[in-house]
């Protein structure tokens, strides 16, 4: 057994081994995906609609457990621990998630939204700790300057792009091992999208990011590694530059050149 404390930069932070997800017996939305994700990388998961990319992402923080008919099999190791054998609540605190639609909690202020991960889990913090977490999280998403004077306003008071950055801050506040993003810019305008992309490149210094995207140029702009999925299978996984210039698989090439999608 590997020692959890000895994980170096070279060891993958996340390992998927033969991961399958099925919505109904006998059919697989994700079919035996094996992949290693290394620390401080941005991995883009691409593929046509219905290829299972979001399904795979949601398996990593056990979101599928919310729906009893969805079955996940295989092994997923996060920092060396098999998350499918862990308490899902703990897994979700370790794997932060940002959704397609910005979803700040409308009944909470901006301040409380950032701390939602703590309040929802019943973790009590001192006021000074709270303020530090809020300031740090909002600074890391570049929202601090914009909202520091309107902290008591509701999260829904912000623009769409700001809301999405608030949701990223909310996930970062729990200091997750990996940040899972499910098409985080598909509901945003180009300027907000641009801001989020720049933000992800900065966050890469401290976090490991996996982003599902429909947008191939986005994948090319921000990711180090790319995964191409088709019909639930992982067709190709490698360096983004290599995949975009010399794809190994014919299906990847066809997708990237727009033959289907």
């Amino acid at each position: 057994m590997e020692n959890i404390n000895n994980i170096s930069k070279e060891n993958p932070v996340l390992q998927l081994k033969e991961v399958s997800v099925s919505y109904s017996p006998g059919s697989f939305a994700v079919n035996r995906v094996t992949a290693d994700i290394y620390p401080n990388t941005i991995t883009a998961i691409m593929g046509p609609s219905g290829c299972g990319k979001s399904t795979l992402l949601r398996a990593i923080n056990r979101m599928h457990d919310l729906y009893p008919h969805i079955k996940t099999t295989g092994e997923i190791f996060l920092k060396g621990r098999n998350i499918l054998a862990m308490d899902p609540m703990e897994v979700r605190r370790m794997a932060g998630m940002v959704f397609q639609q910005p979803n700040p909690f409308p009944t909470m202020s901006i301040y409380d939204n950032v701390l939602a991960g703590y309040t929802l889990n019943g973790i009590r913090l001192k006021k000074s700790e709270k303020e530090e977490i809020v300031a740090q999280s909002l600074q890391s998403v570049g929202l601090w300057g914009e909202v520091k004077d309107v902290m008591t306003k509701r999260g829904s008071f912000l623009s769409g792009g700001q809301q999405q950055r608030l949701c990223i801050a909310r996930a970062l506040a729990l200091n997750p091992e990996v940040l899972l993003m499910d098409e985080p810019t598909s509901a945003l305008d180009p300027i907000s999208t641009n801001k989020i992309e720049e933000l992800l490149l900065q966050l890469q210094k401290d976090f490991t990011i996996i982003i599902v995207t429909h947008n191939m140029s986005q994948a090319a702009r921000i990711s180090d590694k790319s995964m191409f999925m088709y019909l639930g299978e992982l067709v190709e996984h490698g360096n983004t530059t290599q995949m975009f210039t010399k794809p190994r698989n014919k299906r990847t090439e066809e997708y990237l050149t727009g033959v289907f999608g």
């Binding site: 979101m63 919310l66 979700r92 639609q101 979803n103 909690f105 929802l120 889990n121």
Partner: protein, 285 residues
């Protein structure tokens, strides 16, 4: 041409309803004038004395206003835990399941039972239990009618609350789960606060029902014309005193009963207005 006729018919129907409502209000106000003229509006509303004996004749509505508020609020209080549980069961925990549709149809059934049947049940089944419990000797009173009333308004409070709870967007719940929250924490911090104004509105509407409920209350409250001294005491609500006494009333007494009806109408209308305003505020969020 047909279109035009249809439109005129619709317009006429709407107008008819308008005139009808105006007519009811006019009749109530008109027949109340006698008692208001005798004591003044405030003198009638704030007076707790109700004495129909010909020589000492004196009429005030205050005892019945108090009786109404006692029963309505106590029954609302009793119904909250049950209605909220049913709403959470149907709107969140077992949403869309067979159990939920079963519970829903049972609750709908409760709404369909005629008031007089509740009254009979309360009289012959609940009243002996209340006597057994030693709450009061006869069983009749605010307590008995509130218990039965609470059961009667559960469907109204719960069905609307269920709607508002099931309308809480899935993306908010998933957002909370993704931060490691348990189901109970999601319900407490996300579902309930998000649906709060809707739940409040549905309880206000249920209160409106409780205020006006007549038959069962008349059978169970004990029909005494005084301010109830607590939950164990007997009394009369505005609705029950009308139901109980309109048959042998004439002159000033009849006018007093109609004035009570007018007051009840105004209070219920105000309650419904408040509920609508709360819901409108909710729709804007």
């Amino acid at each position: 041409m047909k279109d035009k006729i249809f439109r005129i018919l619709l317009f006429a129907a709407a107008l008819a309803i308008l005139f009808l409502s105006a007519g009811i209000i006019y009749a109530l106000v008109n027949r109340s004038l006698e008692v208001f003229g005798e004591y003044g509006i405030w003198g009638f509303v704030a007076n707790a004395e109700w004495d129909p004996r010909p020589v000492t004749e004196e009429y005030g509505a205050f005892s019945f206003i108090m009786g109404t508020f006692y029963t309505a609020f106590f029954s609302l209080l009793l119904c909250i835990p049950f209605a909220l549980s049913v709403a959470l069961l149907n709107g969140e925990y077992f949403r869309g399941s067979k159990l939920s549709s079963f519970v829903r149809s049972i609750v709908d059934l409760l709404a369909g039972i005629p008031s007089i049947v509740y009254g009979l049940w309360g009289f012959y089944t609940v009243r002996p239990i209340i006597i057994e419990m030693g709450i009061n000797a006869q069983g009749f009173g605010i307590f008995l009618s509130s218990v039965v009333l609470a059961i009667m308004i559960i469907p109204y409070a719960s069905s609307l609350s269920t709607e508002f709870l099931s309308m809480v967007p899935n993306k908010l719940k998933e957002g909370a789960y993704s931060l490691g929250a348990t189901r109970l924490e999601v319900v407490r911090h996300i579902n309930l606060p998000t649906a709060a104004s809707g739940i409040l509105a549905s309880f206000i509407l249920a209160l409106g029902r409780a205020l006006g409920e007549t038959m069962a209350v008349t059978m169970l409250i004990g029909n005494t014309n005084k301010i109830p001294q607590g939950l164990r005491d007997t009394g009369n609500t505005m609705a029950s005193v009308i139901a109980n006494q309109f048959g042998e009333a004439d002159g000033l007494k009849l006018s007093a009963l109609i004035a009570i009806g007018l007051l009840l109408f105004i209070i219920t209308a105000l309650i419904n207005l408040v509920a609508k305003m709360v819901m409108k505020k909710l729709a804007r969020v």
